[in-house]
């Protein structure tokens, strides 16, 4: 298993490198925006990956509530953390793209704002997990995760409606704007590479959590055994 993991890690590294090359060199330069548009090849796949992570977190949370076992809870936690990491990247690269192109750092752009709200929801999830006491954490976290994910379409709809009422510039082109095949290829390579990378990170965080819980149980058992021996 360890060797398999190293193999996958190397493949991931390879794909990330190739995808980076595609983004910086392979894809043609955009006519109106220039080189800075290349941020798109990191910004958009990161958003997709974050969303994928949160979706898996949602599924894992439901799975946990049904089965009540350690595995889905650990997966949920791992996905939330990695999702937040990618989400943070989306929120930083977005304004870095908007400023040179549209002259403003932020606009209540439907997709970027939805990402901000998503980021807030899952940070609150992580804080809830951190501050809740042992046995109940998985259950209440799973409940919040379900609320959070169910909220996502509502968040998107409300911001879209807000935008139609108060129109403002859109970051990254409107829906359904056409895309050059060279650009599409760079986009897809980065999406594939980052998805694989996210899977690697999630697996690592999942293993960490599972072993951590086993260690904690072992400590508790040891303390208990000592008490028993002491009592005798």
């Amino acid at each position: 298993m360890k060797r398999g993991f190293i193999a996958i890690a190397l493949v991931t590294l390879g794909m990330l490198s190739y995808a980076l090359h595609q983004a910086m060199v392979g894809a043609p330069m955009e006519r109106t925006m220039g080189e800075v548009q290349r941020i798109f090849y990191y910004h958009v796949p990161s958003a997709w990956v974050a969303f994928l992570c949160f979706f898996v977190n949602f599924l894992a949370s439901i799975w946990y509530l049904v089965k009540r076992s350690v595995k889905p809870d650990a997966i949920a936690l791992a996905c939330a953390e990695v999702g937040v990491v990618f989400c943070t990247i989306v929120l930083i690269t977005g304004p870095l793209w908007a400023k040179p192109v549209w002259g403003i750092w932020w606009t209540w752009d439907a997709r970027l704002t939805s990402t901000l709200v998503l980021w807030l929801i899952y940070i609150s999830y992580l804080i809830l997990r951190k501050y809740s006491s042992g046995g109940q954490t998985p259950v209440i976290a799973a409940a919040l995760a379900i609320f959070g994910f169910v909220d996502v379409p509502l968040v998107y709809m409300s911001i879209r409606w807000f935008r139609t009422q108060h129109p403002q510039p859109v970051i990254g082109g409107g829906e359904g704007s056409g895309i050059h095949p060279g650009m599409f290829s760079a986009l897809m390579w980065n999406f594939a590479a980052f998805t694989l990378f996210a899977a690697v990170l999630i697996y690592l965080r999942y293993r960490l959590e599972v072993v951590q819980q086993q260690v904690e149980t072992a400590y508790a058992d040891r303390a208990l055994a000592r008490d028993v021996r002491g009592a005798r």
């Binding site: 980076l20 941020i39 990491v85 943070t88 990247i89 793209w97 400023k99 960490l208 951590q212 260690v215």
Partner: protein
């Protein structure tokens, strides 16, 4: 284009920071396992 490089650099800085965080926690876990095995 400084914004372009800033975006790519920030992306990788964040990923590397997360990997460092994972490394540190794995190391701590390894220490705890070692301590448990000795204690037994």
């Amino acid at each position: 284009m400084t914004y372009l490089y800033a975006a790519y650099v920030v992306t990788w800085v964040i990923h590397i920071l997360y990997l460092l965080y994972l490394t540190r926690r794995f190391a701590r876990l390894r220490d705890e396992v070692k301590e448990l095995e000795q204690g037994k």
